[in-house]
């Protein structure tokens, strides 16, 4: 494939760096790019120019027809999709930004989103000395990354199921000390693949709903319902410990729902964007729930979850890192650095096999972790657009 979505950082090739002072992090990086318009009507796909200089090219696609439309930039075989802007409603505009190498391309629109499309026209990208060299043979490596991640998810969920069985057994048997000691290490398996689990609609609320998220009249099941009972000294005054019947009910559901999850991930496969967005999603989980101490409201084992989310994101990143190094080595270096800095901060709070409780952290500790989550989050959120042709 000879094109990619371009981002400011992505566009900071050595050439641009020298010419424009192009810098990282998006701030004030104002390199120039070619800008074209596309008018997608019922019968036409009018591009404002039939050629553009190599480098970053932006197509502003406006749908002047009355059906939902799509715009395609196709390779010289007229088939392979180099870039596309999808689901553009009547009257709306959408931008397709791609980095193009010199060569022959085709443009086409597909009003109504079916059929062969309209207005297919030749499009030429001329030499400008701006475009970077993009290696071919990506497909094979993307395949490898996909299958590697699918295997990882299966392994982690299998460990989760095994751990959940042991945890549930201890809880039902009334061995609260054992159950408490198993709680955080077992949940870590869940947190490593949390974004996958969340993709299965009702499984996530059954297994991981927090009390604050309950609707009026909704039955509370899953990890956190049991957490509150196990750490009942932390619960509000008047909290009634669960009886044996309720324990058995909750433990049974936890085991059964986890088995359902295990079945669902048995033959999953992942696209590249699902992988990169998974890494982004895991870090968002850290930013919204873990670094604030809201996830483990009674056990305060948030740092176990924090580490597990980060582990999951690191696995996803490692899977696509080779591809990123070629497309945008600067972003890869930045992500390596920021992942490393976040891990170093987490390591400061390790205690034996686990971590300090959230309540044992100082305000400065939490602030440092939050700052580093921001530091990693900004570059990480550019990963999908840098790697994936939309």
């Amino acid at each position: 494939m000879r094109a990619r979505l371009a981002l400011p950082t992505a566009a900071c090739s050595a050439v641009l760096l020298a010419l424009t002072g192009c810098v990282a992090n998006g701030g004030g990086t104002d390199a120039t790019h070619a800008s074209l318009t596309v008018d997608s009507s019922a019968t036409e796909c009018a591009v404002s120019a039939a050629e553009a200089p190599a480098g970053t090219v932006r197509f502003r696609v406006t749908n002047s027809g009355d059906k939902v439309t799509e715009f395609y930039l196709l390779a010289d075989d007229g088939l392979k999709i180099v870039g596309e802007a999808e689901n553009i409603g009547p009257g709306l505009s959408r931008d397709l930004v791609v980095e193009l190498e010199p060569g022959k391309y085709f443009t086409a629109c597909k009003p109504g989103m079916t059929g062969d499309g309209v207005g297919k026209a030749a499009f030429t990208v001329t030499e400008s000395g701006a475009a970077g060299e993009i290696d071919a043979d990506l497909a094979a490596r993307i395949d490898t990354a996909n299958s590697g991640y699918a295997a990882y998810v299966r392994d982690v969920v299998a460990e989760l199921a095994t751990g959940t069985d042991a945890f549930a057994a201890a809880y039902v048997a009334g061995d609260d000390d054992l159950a408490r000691s198993l709680y955080a290490p077992t949940r870590a398996h869940w947190e490593r693949v949390e974004t996958i689990a969340e993709s299965f609609g009702d499984l996530d609320p059954k297994l991981d709903l927090r009390e604050a998220d309950l609707e009026e009249g909704q039955e509370w099941t899953g990890w956190h319902a049991i957490e509150k009972d196990l750490w009942r000294a932390e619960a509000e005054a008047g909290f009634q410990a669960y009886d044996a019947g309720k324990r058995a009910h909750l433990a049974g559901l936890l085991v059964a729902d986890t088995q359902t999850l295990k079945g669902k991930v048995a033959d999953l496969s992942f696209t590249l964007s699902q992988q990169t967005n998974g890494a982004i999603g895991l870090l968002e989980e850290v930013a919204s729930g873990k670094v604030t101490g809201e996830e483990e409201f009674w056990s305060h084992t948030d740092l176990w979850d924090f580490q597990a989310n980060v582990d999951g994101a690191k696995v996803l990143y490692a899977g696509v890192r080779d591809i990123l190094v070629e497309k945008d080595p600067k972003l890869a270096r930045q992500l390596d650095t920021e992942f490393g800095a976040l891990q170093a901060l987490l390591d400061e709070h390790r205690v034996d096999d686990g971590f300090a409780l959230y309540t044992e952290l100082s305000g400065a500790d939490i602030r440092a972790l939050a700052d580093q989550v921001n530091a990693l989050g900004e570059p990480l959120n550019r990963l999908t657009a840098t790697l994936v042709i939309s």
């Binding site: 992090n25 004030g28 104002d30 120039t32 989050g377």
Partner: protein, 428 residues
């Protein structure tokens, strides 16, 4: 050549298609005071003195003698542990480009808020779309800890460049400073006539800094409490009194040079043409103040509450006469009156260019408004502020109604020319 349109030399994405009139007209003008004064002239001296845009690249930084805008978002930053000198320079470079774009009313980045790749977060956060530049100025400063931390660590190889005067301000009687609302390695003062424009500036500059610097404290101000140009009416602080009547004004170039701008030979060369910025978060116990009888309120300030005239007589801009007495030979302007203690004749001729803002940050646990004055002053030397503040802290009758809870000092480098970054002379 193809028909593809390449943007012209004006980088960034315009929010409204047209630059502000004044900004466009001034693009080629001279530097410094001249530039700012020309800007004022360009608005015709109508009394509002709010040009729609001020050029970022200039001999002196904008936001000092610029006619004080109505709104403030001020933020103090600490460099993130592990940030290198090269990364600090890169941050200043990024901030400079973004500040130049935003002060001209443009989105930041190559694609701005809505024109970028659909699969990536937008470069610009977008809440200023459709708004004009609103007179936005962005002023950067360097705190003492940038040069050397409290324990003497020279993180960026800058200790030798530290001006002798850039040290923490002395403790003043009555100070109740909170660590989390004081100090900082870097600061950004964003002033605009639209609060959303000021907040947009600090939000985007903070985002750019993630991983290199993080906000230590920040402050919103909703109303200016001083005028920095004779074309502006004198505003009021939350005590209900006019504030800043005797401020240094842009139209006094000799006073500005003598009292505000650091001159060559004052200290390290990199700061010549810059200034020192002091901030004080001054909490007012306004509930108590509001129960004070008018005679006492005026006696405490030393001016009439309506006109703002000194109690020795005349009108707002009449020079106070501290010797004039009334019954019992008591001075008409009380010995502990604010206007007397703050007056240059009492402080070795020292004057300050004040640029503070009113704030109300909700309320405290007793139901009192968390309100006050976010004091900002610019001066050629921190000693000017210290002299005046010491005089006030010892004797000012106003102290009964104020608490200084935040304090910071920053060296404000001169302006950057186009192509350079803010503070570049410090690093080269």
């Amino acid at each position: 050549m193809s028909g593809a349109s390449l943007p012209d030399a004006t980088r960034g994405v315009s929010r409204r298609g047209l630059l502000g009139l004044a900004g466009a007209g001034l693009a080629g003008l001279g530097l410094g005071v001249a530039g700012d004064r020309a800007t004022i002239a360009a608005t015709g001296g109508t009394g509002t003195a709010s040009a729609s845009s001020y050029p970022f690249y200039a001999g002196h930084q904008a936001g000092i003698v610029t006619p004080a805008q109505d709104r403030l978002h001020f933020a103090s930053f600490d460099l993130t542990p592990g940030t290198s000198r090269a990364e600090l320079i890169e941050l200043l470079r990024d901030w400079t480009l973004a500040a130049a774009a935003m002060t001209a009313g443009r989105d930041i980045g190559e694609f701005g808020a809505v024109d970028g790749p659909y699969g990536a977060p937008p470069e610009d956060t977008g809440e200023a779309q459709g708004l004009d530049p609103a007179g936005l100025t962005i002023t950067f400063g360097f705190g003492p800890t940038l040069f050397e931390t409290a324990d003497g660590t020279d993180r960026f190889g800058l200790a030798a460049q530290r001006p002798a005067e850039l040290v923490h301000l002395p403790h003043f009687p009555g100070d109740m400073l909170k660590e989390g609302q004081s100090g900082g390695d870097l600061c950004i003062q964003a002033c605009a006539n639209d609060p959303q424009v000021a907040v947009h500036a600090v939000r985007n500059l903070s985002r750019i800094a993630f991983g290199r610097a993080a906000i230590r404290w920040s402050q919103l101000g909703f109303g200016r409490t001083s005028s920095t140009s004779t074309s502006q009416a004198t505003p009021r602080n939350l005590f209900g009194f006019k504030d800043g009547t005797a401020n240094i004004k842009a139209e006094e170039p000799a006073a500005v040079n003598d009292q505000v701008w650091v001159q060559p030979g004052d200290g390290p060369a990199w700061l010549a043409g810059g200034s020192y910025l002091v901030t004080r978060r001054i909490r007012m116990t306004i509930e108590t103040w509001d129960r004070t009888i008018l005679r006492e309120q005026e006696a405490i300030i030393g001016r009439s509450k309506g006109e703002g005239a000194p109690l020795s007589g005349g009108s707002e801009f009449t020079e106070p006469d501290f010797t004039k007495t009334g019954e019992d030979a008591a001075p008409l302007i009380d010995r502990a009156a604010h206007v007397r203690l703050a007056h240059p004749t009492r402080n070795g001729g020292h004057r300050l260019l004040r640029r503070g803002y009113n704030f109300v940050d909700g309320n405290d646990e007793l139901g009192r408004l968390d309100a006050g004055l976010f004091f900002i002053s610019f001066q050629r030397s921190p000693e000017q502020f210290s002299a005046v503040q010491l005089s006030l802290a010892r004797n000012d009758a106003l102290n009964e109604y104020t608490r200084h809870v935040g304090s910071a000092l920053f060296a404000v480098p001169p302006g950057a020319r186009e192509g350079a970054y803010i503070g570049q002379a410090l690093f080269t």
